[in-house]
Symmetry: C2
Subunit: 363 residues, 2 copies
Amino acid sequence: MSPKNITRSVIPAIDLYCRKANFKTLKSLSMILGSKKEWYDTKKAPLRTFLVSRCGIFEQLRGRLVEDGKVNLFSVFLTNDSFSFCKMTVDDKFNTSLVDWQKIPFDSTFATDRRQNISLLPVDTLFATEKIISILGVSPNMTNLVSIERERSDLVDFNCKLQSNILEHLLYAKCQGVYVTSTNEKARLLAAVCNPEFIDTFWCELTPIRVSLKENPSISVPREYQMYDPVVRATIKEVVTKRLLRSAFDNDIDPLMCLHLDKGWKLKFPILSSTTGLNFSLKDCLSLDTGKDASDMTEVFLATMESSKVLRTYSNLVDIVMKDNGRLDSGVLKQFNDYVKQEKLNLQHFQAGSSKFLKGAKI
Amino acid sequence: MSPKNITRSVIPAIDLYCRKANFKTLKSLSMILGSKKEWYDTKKAPLRTFLVSRCGIFEQLRGRLVEDGKVNLFSVFLTNDSFSFCKMTVDDKFNTSLVDWQKIPFDSTFATDRRQNISLLPVDTLFATEKIISILGVSPNMTNLVSIERERSDLVDFNCKLQSNILEHLLYAKCQGVYVTSTNEKARLLAAVCNPEFIDTFWCELTPIRVSLKENPSISVPREYQMYDPVVRATIKEVVTKRLLRSAFDNDIDPLMCLHLDKGWKLKFPILSSTTGLNFSLKDCLSLDTGKDASDMTEVFLATMESSKVLRTYSNLVDIVMKDNGRLDSGVLKQFNDYVKQEKLNLQHFQAGSSKFLKGAKI
C-alpha cells in the first residue's frame, strides 16, 4: 500500500509531513515550536528527528488538554540563592491565565537541621526540591508541565554550580511522570528541561534592532551591539514581558499570545494603571529589589508564555496533518507549509513590535 | 516527677543515657555505631546530638526488623564510569547473608536516545538512577536501606564530579521514603548517605600496623606509612574483606560479624577452596579486572557488613536502655557503660586480627 493510503497517528503523521517539507520550512517550524537552535549543517534528518522528539512532549500535553479541558504550565528558574517560577493555566480555547509568578530566596526554611542554607547533603537537596514543588501549587486534577531552567554563568563557584545542577536534576526527577495523588490514574506531573536558547530565539531573534539602537541615546557605538549579546536579548525580553502585561492589563488581549490577567492580578500591578504604554519599570511593577530579580522573573514568564503559545501552534498543526487520519495528501501538505510560513510571519510581526521600545531602553 | 520515674521511648532513652555517660564512652559509642569522625573539641553535647541523630536511622531499621523479621541492607558506590553494590539480608537473629555483590559499568544501556554514555541531561541521569535501583533488587516485602557513597577524588574533571554528585543525590531522592509498590502501607525503601570516614574508622583505626609494616619486605621506610594514609586503609580493608569471606566460606562464622555464604556463593568463589587462609587475590576471587575494581567492591562489602553489625550493636543497646521502659536506673547505666566498653574491645580485638596479614600485603 503506497504511503498515501496509510492512516497514521499524530507523531508519525507529523514526521511524514516534516519529511515532505523542505529545510527552510523545518527551520521555520523549529522557530514557531520554540525549538530553534543553531544547526551547523543543512541536512534535514537531524533537524527533523529533533523536532519530532520535541513534538513528543507537546503531543502528551495536547492529549491531556483535550481530555481535561485545561493544563497547568510552570516554568522554574534556579539560581544558587533563589528560584523564580511562573504558573499559567491554559484552557482548550488556549486562553492563558497568569496564576502565580514569584521569586523566592532559598532561606533557612529550605534547609534541614537548623542549617541557614541548603547544604550539599542529599537530605537537604531533597528537602529543598520537595519544598519547591509544594510552593509551585501543582494540581492533582489536571496535568502540570514543569519546565526547568537554571542559571548558567561561569562566574559562579563550583559548589554553587553543583547545587543548581543537582536541584535541576532532582526537580526533573521529582516531577517527571509523578502521580500527584495515589488516586490519579495517570501521571499528573510532567517535567521538561528548558533550553534558554529556545526562549531567546522565540522572543528575540526576529526583532529588528539596528534602527532603534542607533536612536538610543544611552548607546554610543550601536554597531557594537549584536543580537547574540546577552544584554540585548535581556532588554528585548523585558520589553516583550511589559508589552504582554500592558495588553493583558488593558484587556487588549494580544491575538497571538492570548494572555489574560484576572482582577486579582490587576490589583497587584497598580503601576500599570498609573502609567501608559511601557513607561513603567518591571522591577517596580513586581516589587522586586534588583534588575537581576526582574530578569529572572522575565525568564520564567516568557518560558511559560512560550509553552502556551507553542502548545496552540502545535495543536493547530495536528488538526492539519490529521485532516485525513494522517494520510499523505498534497492539499494537506500545502496547508501544512502555508500554516508554518504564516505562523513564522505572525511571530516575526509580533517580535517587530518590540523594536521601537529599544530606542528608550537602558541597555 | 524526677527524671528517674519517667518512662521514655527508645530515642529519648538513648539520649538520656548518653547524657549520663562520659565523653570517652561517647567516643567509644560513636566507634561501635560506625559513626566516628574527628571531634575537634571535647564537649559532649555536639557528639551526643550527632550520635542521637544517627540513632534515628538505626531505630527506624530496628523497628522494621522487629516487625518484618528481616531487612535488606544495600551499599552503593558510585564512580564516574561504574557503580558497585552489595546486598545483604539480615534476620532478627542478626544472621547476615550475602545476597548480591557486583560492579557494573555505566555502558550505553544506562543512557537514552542511543547515546553511548550517561549525558548530563536530567532525562539521562533520571534514567540511569532508575536503572541502578532496578538492578539492586529491592524487595517490596521488607525494608530496604540503601546507603550511598561516591568516589571522592580531586583528579576527576568537573563533569565527572558533577555526574557522580547528581547520581548520588538522585539515588537518595529516589530511595528515601519510597513505597516500592502502591500496596505498601509504609515506605519500604530508605536511604542514607554513607560517610567513608565512618567505614575506615570502623574497620581500620584500631588496627596495630607498626610491627607488621616493619616486617613487610615491600616497604623500605615503614614509619612513612601512617594510619591515615589511604593506601594503608585500603590494604587493611581488603584484608578484612578476605578474612570475612574466608571465615564464612569455611563455615567458621565470625562471632562478631555473623556473615553467612550460601552454597551458591561458595560455587562462585572456587579460589577459596583451592587456597587456605588469605592466600588469594580478591580481584581474582571476584573475577575483576583491576585492583581499583576490587577496592570499590571492598568498599560496598564493608559498608554493608558494617551496617549489619551496627544494627545489632544498636539493638542490644536498646534492649539495655529499655530494661525499665527507658527510666533512668544506675544499674542500667552501668550495663550501658559496660556494654559500650566491651563492644569497643570486641571491635579492637577483631581489628587486631588484621595486623599479621599486613606483613605479606603489597601496599
